[in-house]
Amino acid sequence: MSRIGVFICHCGENIGSVVDCPRAAQTLATHPGVVYSTDYKYMCSDPGQNLIKDAIEKHKLTGVVVAACSPRMHEPTFRNAVAEKGLNPFLCEMANVREHCSWVHTDKEEATQKAIELIRLMVEKVKNNEKLQPIHVPITKRALVIGAGIAGIQAALDIANAGHEVVLVEREASVGGHMLQLSETFPTLDCSQCILTPRMVEVARHKKIKLYTWSEVDAVDGYIGNFEVTVRMKPRSVDLAKCTGCGSCWQKCPSRAIPSEFNAGLSVPDPENPKKRLGYRTAIYTPSPQAVPNKPVIDREHCLHFTKGKCGVCAKVCPTKAVDYEQKEELVKEKVGAVVVATGYQVWSVAKAAADYPYIGYGEYGYGAHPDIIDGLQFERLLSASGPTGGKVRRPSDGKEPETVVFLSCVGSRDNEKGFTYCSKICCMYLAKHAMLYKHKVHDGQAYNFYMDLRAGGKTYDEFSRRTIEEDDCVYLRGRVSRIYPRDGKLVVQGADTLSNAQVEIEADLVVLATAMIAQPDAEALAQKLRVAYDKDRFFSEAHPKLRPVESQTAGIFFAGACQGPKDIPEAVAQASGAASKVVALLNADELEREPVVASVHRAPPPVYSTCFGCFFCERICPYGAIEREEIRDRKGNLIKTVAKVNEGLCGGCGLCAAACRAHAITLKGFNDEQLYAVVNALGEE
């Protein structure tokens, strides 16, 4: 006969102010099977948990129901508490009387009745719960890091330095991500290449890190501790082993006028020869002079050999015969125990309907058609010493040095109608930096910045942005810009300064738009491959915004950097180390304790052996391929029948088989038919 304890939490006022907890406790006290029923202000606190522990001992409880918040929040807390008193954790269930009751209903009587009923459901379920022991699963002591921007590099190094092997997969031809494209970085103005390239080299040389560049993750199967990753190595058309990075190929390559992704498509007229433009790349190229690995890749869409079957200069001039036009795409399998997603962000574009993403574009700013209206990343390339102009600020239209530059904050961000509702967090800081660097390079230049709220909340951030205003004479105008249009070689910027209550018009030589920081266009596809949640803006959803910011809902998969939401470099690095510490903790254990919520097939003594009659419908439906066939033979070895058997290591615990089984021979531990029917049956009682 079950001896169940019911513990109802007030959660301070959150539940207590709507649900009459004492009366609920009283009502449940008389429910068949319940031997102890009480309520307390904070069940999840130590005194609250001790209340449960003492009750287990005093009343020899065989089951516990805690009516409080969502099980997604504190189920582990209470299950650990009961386990300390020897009661199997799976004999403890939670009734969600907060998120699903007190917080969403106002009528006290209705809420209390509903709470009582929800608790009764769980009591009936607990009566049918069985003791379950955790499953021990071996762990592959390797980690996968997707994306080798600063976040991915940091995570990979931290994990590798803790002694675990890392598979680092980067989509571009070189590691470094967006940070490598930046000039100097706020708030200390140290040059991004100087602080980043050493890490890039370290990650390429580290014995424990297996680096795949120009490669993408095609599939991630399996589960925590036992992921099997399919990496697609795109054809570089250059043999990495032979290539020494000498550069004679890209010096001789004839097709030289291809907009460079590394320069964010920016190009500037060459002062010596206006017909030529700086900032382009060749068909066989390395993204940047500091690329790691410093070995080129052939862009097959622009290479004359691939498009017209002509040329082949690079193969001829290559001293080590490293160029290989026949190189094919390769699929490689890697076994890992944990995954860190560090795929970063993209810069939104004001062009008209660039992708299917909420792009309506900014017609009032010319849809990005005017060469002297550029975005923040392009201005970074102008400022960067490794950029097309070697760090000199030149207008893309005529190469002249702009005397007046206007910066616009919040282009696409904080714009419910045409862009995104969120704030991209870093633009106020990098625009202040842009204005400052512009002033350092063009002494008599005048910078304006149209802003709404100067958001510089980090350490020394506000001081930094004040310096731009106080020492570098950048005029900050509090208001947005309604229109930008060309007039007599200048760009007329029609804005407002709400502090002076006035419309403002400025003739600018160059306009820099701080466009929104958005998720990668293929973030949704990657999320579905990894089976992780993502929000309406296609940033990945962390397990808990405050308490588990670097974990995903899916065990074994962690996030770092801007793929989880807009953030600056310090935060991305901090998150990377955070995610790495989670991975290291996971990989340090020899075995992994897995939730015992797995399927199991009925077994019985002879002559029945099992109610399963071998239709193997479950085998076809199982997404994890966890159903095996077991032959039952008599002592003489004659086959009696073949029945299904569950491989507990592979079973993901979804329960598809249980719902599909016509003989109800297979079921899901923790959510078996008896337990669920008990809950449904309990609905009818008054």
Partner: protein, 191 residues
């Protein structure tokens, strides 16, 4: 200037009524100024558009209703088209114009604009369609000294081009138009 803000003012019935007619909350506006930035007649306004929204946010009824801004507004919809929060300031201007008429505090400095609108609507009320000759005459008669000489040179050149027609262009069911006017009259104070 010092504002004595109180619950009564920032939560006034007047503000709720403006929001009811506007069809949205004025609190949605975060004062980004994009409407003022794009307004072609901002140079004429003491309170540019974003400032008018601010007046309503703070419940400053008198300044809002007595302002000139809503009358020099050309209703070109640029502000509402580009507003990132869809606050529809152009519609707010119409609401403030209606309320100014209802409370009898149309800004006297823009009498020309108000009189022209009223003469226009009077002409439509009488004939169902605008009778331009009658409209111009009625408009000028309301303040003959000031408006008499306006366009004196242009008028003969128009006449030579056969414009505006001498006779009104009446519709058949003018009575129906009059009844529409009656049913849609703004509750103006004694005329």
């Amino acid at each position: 200037m010092q504002l004595q803000l109180s619950r009564g003012q920032v939560g006034s019935d007047w503000k709720r009524e403006v929001e009811r007619r506007l069809g949205r909350k004025v609190a949605d506006c975060y004062q980004c100024g994009k409407c003022t930035a794009g307004c072609p007649v901002a140079y004429e306004m003491f309170h540019p558009i974003h400032a008018m929204v601010r007046l309503v946010q703070l419940g400053r009824k008198d300044e809002a209703l007595r302002s000139r801004s809503q009358w020099v507004c050309a209703a070109c919809e640029a502000c509402s088209t580009r507003c990132p929060k869809d606050v529809d300031p152009a519609r707010l201007m119409t609401v403030l114009r209606e309320m100014a008429q209802e409370e009898g505090c149309v800004n006297a400095n823009e009498a020309d604009i108000y009189d022209f609108h009223m003469s226009f609507l009077a002409s439509v009320r009488r004939f169902g369609r605008v009778y331009e000759m009658g409209l111009v005459a009625a408009y000028k008669l309301k303040s003959p000294i000031r408006r008499g000489p306006q366009d004196l040179l242009t008028f003969p050149r128009m006449l030579r081009r056969g414009k505006p027609g001498l006779l009104p262009h009446k519709i058949q069911n003018v009575a129906a138009i009059r009844r529409i006017y009656e049913r849609c009259k703004l509750q103006r104070p004694r005329e």
